[in-house]
């Protein structure tokens, strides 16, 4: 529970900065005030500015209106409850079970933080006593392989990389290596790609098929890495990658900035893929399991 608390604290600290900048301090806004039309409008503005999106914001605000609450404090609690309820279906723990090696594949658009998240995820798994092996599957971007290898060296995690070529082949190799070394978990990096690049979407489907060929049942987790700075396009990303790969989970990165990642509210409504982890800082242990209640708490204070 210690980790969860400090996570919430961190997240809250990050979001407190946001509120300063945004000049819409939700708790201040709601406390010691009578509920009137302008308060609902301010609430709506706060949710929109957190990237919750028009549809999700309107749904949340109108559900609160129906409660006909009178004082701000009650409204604040109701808002928190509504958000927590909306986000709760996204809560799921990553469990490494059964298969060995257990294969986790990461996907995402360019610059969403895949490689960094892999580092943090490997660290998190090591803390759970798992042996981890990384597959440098981003064979496209300049020095992506070097980035992962450098990280692996620093943290004593083996990285399987090939001088060039095919991401499927790298993963195939990595699975062989993992079996030979008895590694429990393989995490596969992939190149960043936009859903509009259909040939690259086809390529990543192939990587997934290769994993299944190399080992029945793999990949066991297919995670999409989302940047918390992303606006409503994050929802389109979830849909496109889910349609192409059948996502099992999401990782939301860069929550240590001023962005709130409210787009998960829209995701929860329209394509509820579980959110496994949130990245709340630059340090290696700043990847934390997602807790709906804490997230809701941090979002509205």
């Amino acid at each position: 529970m210690v980790a969860a608390l400090s996570w919430a604290a961190r997240l809250k600290a990050g979001l407190a900065r946001t509120r300063e900048v945004l000049n819409t301090p939700v708790p201040v806004l709601l406390a010691r005030r009578r509920v009137d039309e302008s308060l609902y409008e301010e609430l709506e503005a706060a949710l929109l500015q957190a990237d919750c999106g028009v549809a999700a914001t309107q749904a949340i605000v109108s559900s609160l209106r129906r409660k006909k609450l009178e004082d701000g404090e009650a409204l604040r609690r109701a808002l928190k409850d509504a958000l927590a309820e909306l986000l709760l279906p996204l809560e799921r723990k990553l469990e490494i079970t059964g298969a060995r090696p257990f294969v986790i594949m990461l996907a995402g658009v360019n610059g969403s933080g895949k490689t960094t998240s892999i580092g943090k995820l490997a660290h998190w798994l090591q803390l759970q006593g798992r042996s981890v092996l990384l597959a440098a599957g981003d064979t496209f971007r300049a020095a992506a392989r070097e980035q992962l290898v450098a990280w692996g060296e620093r943290n004593a995690v083996p990285v399987i990389a090939q001088p060039s070529g095919d991401p499927g082949a790298v993963l195939f190799d990595a699975l062989g290596a993992a079996r030979a070394r008895g590694a429990e978990v393989v995490i596969a990096d992939t190149a960043g790609r936009l859903p509009t690049q259909l040939h690259l979407m086809e390529e990543i489907r192939k990587v997934k098929r290769v994993a299944a060929k190399a080992q029945a049942g793999a990949p066991h987790e297919v995670l999409l890495v989302l940047d918390a700075n992303t606006g409503q396009n994050a929802l389109a990303q979830v849909k496109a990658f889910d349609d192409a790969l059948g996502l099992t989970g999401l990782v939301l990165t860069k929550l240590d900035g001023t962005a709130k990642g409210g787009v998960v509210c829209a995701i929860a409504r329209e394509r509820p893929v579980p959110l496994l982890f949130v990245g709340v800082g630059e340090d290696i242990d700043d990847l934390r399991p997602f807790v709906a209640r804490d997230f809701a708490e941090a979002l509205v204070g």
Binding site: G111, A143, A234, A236
Partner: protein, 459 residues
């Protein structure tokens, strides 16, 4: 509206439908009034929010449009709705910068360009693109990385510099970024470089230490261009980030990256409004050639979901081999039919235009919405068609009507496809043949209109 299409352009479909509704609702009034634009403006507000324009900017914008719309006469055959949409589009384009502005490198060389932005916004790739662009302009360009934090960031820029054909100033992750900057500047001066592009680590606007670092870099380098690199997918927080960077750094311009995605890019308006700095370029794709001048009108249309028809036409003109098109047209005029050999040539031209995926992005919502992602295998399908045609004899290519069952079987076996694929190709060919007749006069607009039926994956 098909269910699958919403995967790629959910909001586009949405907005176009909405605007169409507005146009219908307020038809037949001669003047824009408070009453007849109220609903329309509400829809525009929603559209802008869904395009990720920041809320304060949206509010400002709607008020400005309301003020300038009231009393405006509805000219000619326009409905008030159309007039309003036109006004919204014009106003958006105006706010995003009027005409497009390039780099201003007029200074005592070396002209220094400093790159700044959040993590993952695309600084390093964009640095390479700028280097390539300037090198093509006969400039002697050097690149240097002050990103000593992210593993292999320096190696990445080194690889990118090599691809761009630019000089690379070495740096190490153990060094102080400001020392690197000083050394690189000295290097560029003594070796008479025209331009020095300085890549920096991604940083959070609230990271005081890092913001101080980049301010110091700026003081040492005295860059002639300080460019703020922004991800086109960024959401509401863009105003806060842009304001914070603008407050700490005298920005001279903005580059919008990842515009080849399907984000509507409302961030362009947010950042422009907050910083007042021109958006100088748009980044499209990971290849180093993927950088374009920023076009405010097109961006306005994209934010509103109107599609980049202009860009499509321009691109078609640039890439299509005019001689080849003329050869086919001549052939048609001489009365000879359009045969499969010509069809193959057409397909090759389509490939040059970047395949269907590149076109998709530029089509307006009504059209893009009709593309089924499942069918759209694009380049693969084009290769397949080529394979089938290559499996035919010259006689068969000249006169496809001779293709009966056994010839089709042979061709299918040769191309490694089922016979149905051969039939499908012949059907597509027939449609293309019809279209070519229409194109006789070289009417590109008409051809684009009819492309819908012929492009693989469009239905």
């Amino acid at each position: 509206m098909s269910g699958t299409s919403s995967v790629y352009h959910p909001m586009l479909d949405n907005l176009t439908a909405r605007l169409a509704k507005i146009v219908k609702q307020i038809r037949g009034e001669a003047r824009l009034t408070e009453a007849n634009i109220q609903d329309a403006l509400r829809e525009v507000r929603v559209a802008l929010l869904e395009a990720d324009v920041a809320l304060p900017v949206v509010k400002q914008f709607i008020e400005a449009v309301r003020a300038s719309a009231l009393g405006e006469e509805v000219i000619g055959s326009l409905t008030p709705g159309q007039a309003l949409v036109g006004l919204v589009h014009r106003e958006l384009a105006r706010l995003m910068g009027g005409a497009n502005v390039g780099l201003d490198l007029a200074t005592q060389p070396p002209a220094v360009i400093l790159m700044a932005g959040l993590q993952g916004s695309g600084k390093t790739t964009t640095a390479g693109k700028l280097a390539k662009l300037l090198a093509a302009d006969k400039k002697k360009v050097a690149l240097v990385s002050c990103d000593v934090y992210r593993p292999a960031a320096i190696e990445q820029l080194k690889a990118v510099a090599a691809q761009a054909g630019a000089d690379f100033v070495e740096s190490k992750s153990g060094e102080n970024p400001v020392d690197i900057a000083r050394r690189a500047l000295e290097h560029a001066k003594t070796r008479y470089f025209d331009v020095l592009i300085v890549d920096t680590a991604g940083r959070l606007a609230i990271d005081e230490e890092m913001m101080r670092e980049i301010a110091e870099l700026h003081a040492v380098l005295k860059p002639v261009e300080t460019l703020f690199i922004v991800d086109a997918m960024q959401g509401q927080d863009a105003v806060n980030v842009a304001r914070a960077f603008d407050a700490r750094l005298p920005l001279t311009g903005v580059i919008l990256t990842k515009l080849d995605g399907d984000a509507r890019g409302g961030v362009a308006l947010s950042v422009r409004q907050v910083t007042g700095k021109p958006i100088k370029f748009a980044g499209v794709g990971e290849k180093l050639g993927g950088i374009e001048p920023f076009h405010p009108e097109r961006m306005a249309a994209r934010i509103l979901g109107m599609g980049d028809i202009l860009g499509l036409v321009e691109e078609a003109h640039a890439r299509i081999d005019l001689d080849e098109a003329k050869r086919v047209a001549d052939k048609l005029k001489r009365g000879r039919g359009f045969d499969l050999e010509d069809f193959k040539a057409q397909i090759a031209q389509m490939k040059k235009m970047g395949g269907v995926a590149a076109l998709l992005d530029k089509l307006p919502a009504q059209l893009a919405g009709q593309i089924s992602p499942a069918q759209l295998q694009d380049d693969r399908q084009i290769r397949r068609i080529e394979g089938i045609i290559n499996s035919m004899t010259p006689a068969e290519r000249a006169d496809p009507s001779m293709l009966k069952a056994s010839r089709k079987r042979r061709i299918a076996a040769g191309a490694g496809v089922p016979v149905q694929a051969v039939n499908q190709l012949l059907n597509q060919f027939e449609q293309m043949q019809k279209m070519m007749k229409m194109m006789k006069g070289g009417n590109m607009a008409r051809m684009l209109r009819n492309m819908k039926g012929v492009l693989p994956g469009l239905r």
